[in-house]
Structure formats: structure tokens, C-alpha cells
Symmetry: D3
Subunit: 123 residues, 6 copies
């Protein structure tokens, strides 16, 4: 069984691919309030799930963008759209994922996602 | 501008790839109650969105599975898991998408999705 | 300021219009577990909101059906569809409300609502 | 079977009744990012669902306001409140729909909706 | 059976404990639009539920904070965090409730809650 | 930094308090489909969050019950109601938490939660 430090190391390897130097550069109010929370997230989300070899990074990124759009989590959506662009997913494909959200979460969810994405994805 | 019959033809081409002969074979109570609704869905969802060339069918299928799991729509999830298997997405990748749902929609959403998927995805 | 018993009396007047003798006849597990809860609901939901004169009963019923469909609360939806039929809303209009749910809450929400409604609304 | 251009024509007839000259006048970031999305929405939402004769425009407008309030889609709610006023629904009735949202989606959903509606509906 | 004025008196006793003089001091746009709504909320939410003796105020406050975080109702969350501090719940415990939200409603819900809480809960 | 096995050991200590011998005894379809998922959940949810000393077990249990009721996750709610009873929370307090859910997530969410809880919490 792997050590906790393995979770952290694997998680940081994933976030570095998604956001590079920006991974540690953002400073949310939540990070000052609860810094341990973000350490746990890196270990669990990126070290525990995203780093598993059963699914490629591109698919994980697309599915995350799709879920955040459907759930209306627009701030996180913007972060993951940057990550998706960084690993080479074309902006046209990301727009298409957001558009298709209308079918499963309703038109307003898609409109909100496209509005939130507009400056990240503009040509 | 394309004709409405184009929407329907394009939509049926997509559902045939996803579900083959099964596409028209299911008989939900809703279909007897509101048959026109399902004609509109074929035209709009599959003919209007899924048939656009900007994103491949595999990516659309994965994103749909991810959204249905996050939104807790387990009946539709099962239908789209069958479709995903039919177009060649390995069951291991689909399980992984459902697992990762825990990160963005919470652990109970992932457990519910895995429970709903169990007989569709069993080895 | 009205007395609490006014809330209860007004609430019962509304539920009698919606469900008649059936209003007190249903026996949910929750009613045995928490009978006081249902007394509060009659006072607050039907006595506090539905009995206000600013909006007619038909509009309140349609809006409730629409919200329950959008929120995926299918058991309550069935109860309010019975109520809507009892106050004279035609089944064709109720089906239409459920269909339109696809636009704002997504296609799966509409399909689930139509499935739940099928035996209540069948011709 | 109707042509696609029929969907568009019927959809535009509905949006003209709801928003008149304003229908094409708004300029969301999403519209610059994904103009084809909004053409599909006009065809499908307004041309495919709203233009069906089985339910009157007033009922469709009230149900849409109710669903957007319940789902917390405040930007779209404001747009549809303008539309509801334009087709003659009194502001007192719209406030009542938003208030009743507390019963089915919780008090915070109703408060958020009333806050979002305040300048649109002020006397 | 108690009178309606009892609901109001009991409700005001609860809000006074949670927010003291601030209880009546906030002025939301919704309050100008629908003042009767807030009177009903005081009677029903605080007079009808919170004032029941079966559960202590601390537990009710924690559960409310937990639910508002899970549901993404950040404005109401901030109000109830102030109330929780006023009745003596330590800020460390409130941060912990928000962190644990990640398990049941997903990481983005927890991040949004922590961001909304940051200035209320800062040391 | 702690080892991963510490997460697992701490997580198992929490689940043993909540469910005792039952903790490993349930057999969901999801557990056969994705056994690794449940190992990750034990490590992350119970070892990473619940085992932190900043909040007592009773408060964590109440908040979890409150969130699951608000989110409509009835299967998980039942499991956590068993856990809550096992650590000594009186059934009257749990019923009260479920009732209060009506205020923040709407009456149907509370009714569904009370229905799901009825046999677990019956006197």
C-alpha cells in the first residue's frame, strides 16, 4: 500500500500537467482560511483519482469540464478549462462540450457555462 | 438552412450507432404518454447537438455518462452506458469516469452511479 | 394578525379542493414517523402560501407541477398531478408542462417526470 | 413533417411576443463565443416546445419562471420575468410564484429569486 | 393549538438569539419587494421548526450551515455563519463542517462555501 | 507527513465506531464492480476528513445526515442514520434534523428523507 506522500507526489504531478506553474500560484480566500483542505484535495482528487492509469488525462479533463458545467460550478469550470487547454484539448471541442450540456442539465446551465467560459475560450 | 427532416435523419444516424436495433425497441411509459416528445428529443439532442462534427462520438458519450452520473439520472445513465459500450469504450474506462464523479458531485453520487451501472458493466 | 388555527383552517380548505376526501386518506411511512411535520406543512405550505389571494389556484398548481418535475421529486409530482386534474386542468396541458421541463432542467428530468406521470395522466 | 426553417420561424414568433425588439438586442459573452448555440435554442426551445398549441403562452411563462427560480438560474429568471411582464402577467402574480418557491425548493431559493427579481418587478 | 402570533413570537426569540439587533437590520432587495414573505419565514422557519424543543440550537445551526454549503446557497450561508458564531460555535468547527462538505456534495461545493465564508470566519 | 496506511487505519477506526461489525458487512453491487473505490473512500472520507480532531463525531454525523437529506441521497442517508443511532444520537433528534430540511431544501426533500428513514428510526 502506497504512503500518503505518494498521494501528494502523484497529485502534484497531475496538477503540474494541468496548470504548470499556475498550480500553486492562485490565491483563493478559501486557501488562506483552510490551507489543509487544499492539501487534502491534491492528495485525494489528483493523487487518488486522476493519477490512476485506467483513464487518460484528456478523457478525465473533458469529463470534469462536463460535470462542472452541468453542476453550475462556474469558478471551478474556468480553472479546468485552462487546464484542458494546457494539455492540448482544442477550444472548439470544449465549446461543444458546454453546448451539449443543454441536453442533460437544461439550457440555462449551458448558457451560464458558456458565459463563464467566454474569456478563457475566446479565439 | 437544413430541413427538420434533416434533424431527424441525422439524429437517427446517431442513435443507430449508439444503440443499433435497440434504439427504437425500448418502450418506456413516457413513450406511450408523450410520443411526440421523443421525436423532438431525437431531432434536437441527437440531430441538433450530437451530430455536429466539432466533437467525436467517443468524447460526447463519455461527457454524457459523466453528466448523468453527476446529476443522479440513473435510468438514463444505464442507457448511455450501453451506448458507450456499443461504440467501443472499454468498461474499465467507464467505471473510472463514475468513480471520479465522487470528486465533483460527492461520494454518494458516485456510489449511486456505480450501483446503477453494476449489471451493465459487469465483466 | 391571524391565529395559527386560521393557518390550519385555510390550509385544509386548499387541500380539500386539491384532493378532497383523499387529502387525509394517504398514509406515508413519514406520516407515522413524524405526524407533527405534516400538520406544520398543511399550515405553512397550504395555509400560509397557497391560500393567499394574489394568485389563482390553477396557476399555483401548474407552477408546483413544473417545479416538482424540474427538481426530480417524482412522488410529490404524482400527488400534485392528481390535484391538478381534480381542479380541472386538462391532462394535455399537464403533459405539456412536463415536456417543456426538458428545456430548463434537461431531457432526463422530463423523461423521469413523464414516466412518473404516465399512469396518473393516461387517457 | 415541418422544415427546420419552420422551427426557426415559429421560435422567432414566440420570442418576439416575449421580448419584442429586445429579443435580438441582448449581447451575452456566450453569444459571441457560440452563436450557433443560440440559433439551436431558438429553434428547439421556442420553436419546438413553446410554440406547440396544447398550452397557452401565459401558462408556459409562469411555469418557466417557477422552474428557473427553483433551479437557481437567476440570470435567465430575470429575462423571463421581463417576458412575463411583456405578455401581461401582473407583477403581483410573479412575486407570488417566487414566494411559493420556498415550499418546494427551500427558503434560500425563494430569497435568491426575489433578490434577483427585485429591480425587474419593483412597482 | 397555538395562535399565529405565537409562531411570530417564538420565531423572533430564535432570530434574536442568532442575530441579535442585526436580525431586523439587514435590508435585502427582496425585503422591499415582498415584505410579507419574510414575516412568513420568521413564523414558519424559526417559529415553526427552530423553536421546537426536540433539538438544541447549536445542532440546528450546524445542520443549517451544512445544508446551505451543500446546496450552494452562499448568501444565506454567510448569514447563518454569523448566527453560529453569535451562539458560540467556534470558527474552527465551522470551517471543519465546510471542509467535510467535499465528501457529500463534491469538492467545488466545499471550495465555494469556504470562499464565501472566508471573511466571516477569518481569525 | 502521514503514510497512506495511516489514512486507512484512521478511516477504519471511524467506520468501526459508526457501524461496528456492519462496516465491512454490507455488499453493494458497486462494491463488486469497483472495490478499489471503497478503499479510497475509507481513506479519504473517513481517514482524511472525519478523523480530524477539530470537530466531534456527533457533530459530523448530524451534519452528514443533514446534507444527505438535503441532497436527496436516501440510500446513504439510511446508512448514516444507523451510524448516528450507533454513536448514541437519539432518534427524536434525527427526526428533527430531517424535518428542518424542509426549510432549506424544500418540503419534498424532507418528506423523501422521512420516508426513507421511517423503518430505521421507528420507535
Amino acid at each position: 500500500m502506497a504512503e500518503e506522500s505518494d498521494f501528494l507526489a502523484r497529485g502534484r504531478a497531475v496538477t503540474a500537467r494541468l496548470w504548470g506553474a499556475r498550480a500553486g500560484g492562485q490565491e483563493l480566500p478559501a486557501q488562506r482560511l483552510a490551507p489543509e483542505f487544499f492539501s487534502l484535495v491534491t492528495q485525494f482528487v489528483f493523487g487518488g483519482f486522476w493519477s490512476r492509469p485506467q483513464l487518460d488525462l484528456r478523457s478525465r479533463s473533458l469529463c470534469t469540464v462536463a460535470q462542472l458545467a452541468a453542476l453550475g460550478k462556474t469558478e471551478e469550470l474556468r480553472g479546468h478549462l485552462y487546464g484542458a487547454l494546457n494539455i492540448g484539448i482544442p477550444r472548439e471541442e470544449l465549446i461543444e462540450v458546454l453546448m451539449q450540456t443543454a441536453c442533460y442539465a437544461g439550457v440555462p446551465a449551458a448558457v451560464n457555462a458558456l458565459n463563464a467560459a467566454a474569456d478563457v475560450l475566446k479565439a
